[in-house]
Symmetry: C2
Subunit: 404 residues, 2 copies
Amino acid sequence: MHVYQNIKKSAQISTAFWDVMSQAGLLDIVVDGLGPGQHRTRAGGHEFVNMSSYSYLGLDAHPALVRAAAETVLSVGALNTSTARSRVRFSVLEDAEAALSDLFNVEAVTVASAAAAAWCALPLLASGLFTDNQPPLMVFDKNAHFCLNAMKAAVGDETEVVTIAHNDIDALESLCKQHPLVAYVADGVYSTGGQAPVTELLRLQDQYGLFLFFDEAHGTSTLGANGRGLVLEEMGEINDRTLIITSLNKGFGASGGAVFLGRKGRSKERRDFALRNGGPLMWSQRINTAGLGAILASAELHRTDELTTLQRRLRENEDLFDSLVDTAQRHDGLPIRFIKIGSEDQTVRMAQDLFANGFYASPIFFPIIGRGNAGLRLMLRANMTTAEIEEFCSLLKTLQDKHA
Amino acid sequence: MHVYQNIKKSAQISTAFWDVMSQAGLLDIVVDGLGPGQHRTRAGGHEFVNMSSYSYLGLDAHPALVRAAAETVLSVGALNTSTARSRVRFSVLEDAEAALSDLFNVEAVTVASAAAAAWCALPLLASGLFTDNQPPLMVFDKNAHFCLNAMKAAVGDETEVVTIAHNDIDALESLCKQHPLVAYVADGVYSTGGQAPVTELLRLQDQYGLFLFFDEAHGTSTLGANGRGLVLEEMGEINDRTLIITSLNKGFGASGGAVFLGRKGRSKERRDFALRNGGPLMWSQRINTAGLGAILASAELHRTDELTTLQRRLRENEDLFDSLVDTAQRHDGLPIRFIKIGSEDQTVRMAQDLFANGFYASPIFFPIIGRGNAGLRLMLRANMTTAEIEEFCSLLKTLQDKHA
């Protein structure tokens, strides 16, 4: 018991964080949308810019996606087929998966969220079904996303589980030397900043046959040709010793999540294994037709110059931000920045002042990160204006001086 | 290892079922919608009635719900807020949860599917957070839905897990006598037919303080005043030793799933525990705004005479069906019927002939049920016409004679 988690204990540890946040008015903000990353609170009509939105390209409010979502519901005339997808499914689901598979040159299946994709794919990988019936040693990066960690108990019922320090290539290589088959579970881009050392991991794959499992929820759309993400951009194309899960919400701007099972048109066996044994893929809800319509529209946009333009604008906004504020993530080519403040009290007061002045910036502190390392997590977007970034950075400096 | 599951083994066991179904053309049917439970195949334009749709009241194609889904996406202007719901959420999410809470007099939170609701609620219950920090002995009904079973490993990392025979009240009572705190995990209405013995379970709750956890995916909307489902109808109202999860797709006709945490307005602590520690509730996607719009429209419909009329029509269709075909579920007040055929070959050939004649009926056989017990699972709907039911039942008899 408590080999993988201890919910009661972690609930006790995190209570203070939530209570402080709640008392500070930084939780449960109920809003209406005002377009590109801008919101108005229902109570009070306070308008603000969201500086911690993971819609990195601003696609969540893109008119073409929103319109496609609405039109698809109307043209299909239902949100779902009301039967398991393995039996009867709508054309639009078939089309959305084909569009994703074509776009990224992968065998894509879709589920209701990236977490559902983890639930589908991780136990299957652990069982050995994707590795000639040999269950791999499953090695998790310590900082892998919560939805991956939450699957450790199910994974541990199929094979051995080890957790190593963040990006610890030496530890991973040592395990590769000791075990005939190792699978490594990591994020491509970490939601807390930074990325997986993909080049090094590919070397271990070449050398030891290491199987790689990536969560690309923060990499898809944001990075790479046609928005294929950090991992596929570095790999060139997916290989048969790699699985990728991702979100189709976040950067992609639609709904749901996906598993990239292998190469397009060459992964029929894996597709069958997943659809017949893959938990949420078998019995859970599909992405509704609104979400599927948005996926089709977004996949189309990902093939156009508009995607390249949005990625370039995001890079320009990162550069502008980095020219004004120094962080550990400066010029790392990713859109996530962490403003370290240190004191938890000070972090909360800064977030409150920023919010009062029209900016929501997400406070992060213990237990999400170590005590005394509190700060604000920012997510830059392609559809932030120069004026918004400049005003925010200027305000940030003023408040840092005030609260120092 | 393999305490709770053995995916490789169950994949091997079920391969034959899937291959037979696939070769028979009874899987991967890609369709466009034609309205009430009717579809047309994309390849070939074959039209058929779905006799195994879980949209028991026909709400999946209800114009008011479909329209509300489309209009809500357009009026909000986005599918999601692109920020954790605990921080910033759309008014329409707040409204949808308030509408559900009002409708069923519960404290409702929503997630992307009923499976996500299980993922959220079962480990929390197991941890003891809902029972004064005392982790209960978790007793699963053997026939509890796959998505509940799939959580056993995570639950088993928090507390002790036992599985008992289906509806075995004696075994459950015996465990209640031996253990200070027991929680029972079951379906309200079983997707394979039949229901939980709610009256007996409530007696055990009274007598021993038994905690009850129900999946009402097939009970909500279909049964009870305002569609509150089998369990709440029998209980009168939810109490603080009961958790209910449900689907908002299926009978309810919208998208996503929900957890009913306790009594409306009297479950603030549980709500905080769930939102701060409940896996998918913390970091996974919300139901998109299309689904939320449909939830609002469906909740409104559940308060009207239309709901009562639809429930009555469903009962009439059950009666009509039962007057024509005898099954073990005859007159059980539930919409699920199992036509036992026995031989797996014969079941597949019957399903093929039915499909050729315009009816999809879902074949079920080993390993879903025991060998030699194959048959067709039917789900009756309020929006089946008398002619459809009569034609299907007549065809069924002809084919049963032909294939006998």
